[in-house]
């Protein structure tokens, strides 16, 4: 058994599953998405409840990141339905979709910080546009967010002057700026060293517990998924191969699942 499997999983692993009446914040039903002849998402159905963290694992090119882009409306599904807070996104206009987007925070794989803005301006960006906060209030909120991700000293720095791990932290702070109900994280620990990855995981756990958000984390990192997720969905060829707690997946005899766990360890 790998070292990652020996690390205790999150205590609340079965919390959401144990409560079927929990409020469903994100619900995907039979979602399909193709690019030309290539089916990237092939009939995925998933739900995420308030306060729950779902980790989406899978090989490269199995549609994990596309799933997040579909949820936040950066792309439209070919068929199937996506409901956020019970509202079907397919029927929404841009303004209505933006009202939902304000309730979502998105951490992109490479953080996607705005090159031409300082760290402070990056985090202030959504606050300026979606709140009535005064300049002083915004500055206070930015400092508070940077403190929560341990980046107070980077206030005036440009994104090009900070490391990859720091960019992820700032990106996380920006994603949390509007106190979202839903947090979408695209490979938050990709390309980071194990220590920084661990720090990012701890940070996500802390922020998740403080804010009681529904989170979907796309990752290749099994250890990270085990640390932060209540539930894991393993994708294969655009479909959900298996869904359950880390222990459920680790105990599975399915060839693909055992191969994935063995390879990752």
């Amino acid at each position: 058994m790998s070292q990652s499997i020996l690390i205790p999983a999150r205590e609340s692993n079965d919390r959401a599953n144990a409560n079927p009446a929990a409020e469903s914040v994100v619900a995907l039903r039979d979602v399909h998405k193709s690019y030309g002849a290539q089916k990237v998402v092939d009939g995925i159905s998933l739900t995420v409840n308030r306060g729950e963290t779902l980790a989406v694992l899978g090989r490269s090119g199995t549609g994990k990141s596309v799933l997040l882009r579909l949820i936040i409306g950066l792309q439209k599904p070919d068929s199937g339905s996506i409901a956020i807070h019970g509202q079907e996104t397919a029927s929404l206009g841009l303004d209505q979709m933006n009202l939902l987007r304000v309730k979502m925070g998105f951490l992109f794989q490479q953080a996607a910080l705005y090159d031409s803005l300082t760290v402070e301006q990056n985090i202030s960006f959504p606050l300026e546009r979606h709140t009535n906060m005064s300049k002083a209030e915004r500055a206070g909120r930015v400092k508070e967010l940077l403190a929560s991700v341990g980046m107070e000293s980077a206030l005036d720095k440009m994104p090009s002057d900070i490391s990859g791990g720091m960019k992820k932290r700032v990106g996380l702070a920006r994603a949390l700026a509007l106190r979202p109900d839903i947090l979408l994280l695209d490979e938050p620990t990709a390309g980071l060293d194990p220590i920084t990855s661990g720090e990012i995981d701890e940070l996500i756990l802390k922020l998740q517990e403080e804010n009681n958000m529904a989170s979907i984390v796309v990752t290749h990192d099994l250890l990270s998924a085990k640390t932060i997720a209540d539930r894991i969905a393993l994708l294969d060829k655009g479909k959900v191969a298996i869904e359950g707690s880390f222990e459920d997946l680790a105990a599975s005899k399915d060839e693909f699942v055992t191969e994935f766990f063995k390879r990752d360890s």
Binding site: R69, I72, L74, R101, F108, A112, L113, F125, R129, H130
Partner: protein, 276 residues
């Protein structure tokens, strides 16, 4: 034997013709697709431009980037054109014994055609490349997606602001090009045959009316629209990483320059009809 080789030759010719025809259809399809995408992009830009909130601060920032920072280059280009016109025109006019017409020739050439076109092409090069590269980089690093995910309309924030700044800046930059063109035209003229600036300007503008000045200058607002629209469109549709950014930058410059030249031909004819 001869019949067989004749048949082979005919088949080869047919194959070449079919290939050429397929290539032409493919190019035509791509062109039509490009214009269709540009139409959709323009519609999104128009819709974004008439809805609140208006990004005034960003427009001012873009005016500085596009207008103020292009001023030295446009001034130099205008000055060079004025000097060259003075030197070239003197020889031509001397043949007909009409060197006294030199100030008018310089002023008319600069304000009617050279000032607006040179400004359009210089800005297409500098600003087209800048916008294409900046927006292209933002696209491939998911910054444009991040703007959209933040519930902010990227067409409004990135495209409308830049296009408006181009529309406002181009006529102002043209005035600068005209000014420096006339000034260096006078310098070049007076070095050969001394004439005071006052007399040069009086002779130059003697037969000019307000419409001579107004229509060509505001023609460049259309150039600004073309440069901003094409460069933003090429930048925001970038695909394929850093190589894609290079392609977008090049195509932004090439296409905006090409459309500026084409628009110039159409607008000159239109101005001649409307302001005879």
């Amino acid at each position: 034997m001869q019949v067989k080789s004749s048949l082979q030759a005919r088949e080869s010719v047919l194959f070449v013709m079919q290939s050429a025809s397929t290539a032409n259809v493919s190019t035509l399809n791509r062109s039509l697709e490009w214009f269709g995408d540009l139409g959709t992009f323009s519609w999104n830009v128009i819709r974004a431009s008439v809805t609140k909130p208006f990004e005034f601060r960003e427009i001012v920032r873009q005016l500085d980037e596009i207008g103020s920072k292009s001023l030295p280059l446009v001034a130099c280009a205008g000055a060079a054109v004025g000097a060259v016109l003075a030197l070239e025109s003197r020889h031509s006019l001397a043949r007909f014994g009409a060197t006294s017409m030199l100030p008018a020739a310089i002023v008319f050439s600069v304000i009617h055609e050279m000032g607006p076109v040179v400004t359009g092409l210089v800005v297409a090069g500098r600003v087209g490349a800048g916008i294409g590269a900046e927006l292209g980089s933002m696209k491939v690093t998911e910054q444009i997606d991040a703007i959209e995910a933040s519930a902010v309309n990227p067409f409004k924030l990135l495209a409308v602001t830049r296009i408006l700044a181009c529309i406002i800046a181009l006529p102002l930059l043209t005035l600068a090009a005209d000014f420096f063109g006339v000034l260096t035209g006078w310098v070049a003229a007076t070095l050969v045959d001394p004439i005071t600036l006052h007399r040069f300007v009086m002779k130059g503008f003697a037969g000019a009316s307000f419409s001579d000045f107004l229509a060509p200058t505001f023609r460049t607002a259309v150039f600004g629209l073309i440069i901003g629209l094409v460069a933003c469109f090429q930048g925001m549709r970038t695909e394929g990483g850093t190589e894609g950014v290079g392609r977008s930058t090049t195509s932004a410059v090439v296409l905006s320059s090409l459309f500026v030249i084409l628009a110039d031909v159409v607008l000159v004819k239109l101005i001649l009809v409307l302001f005879p």
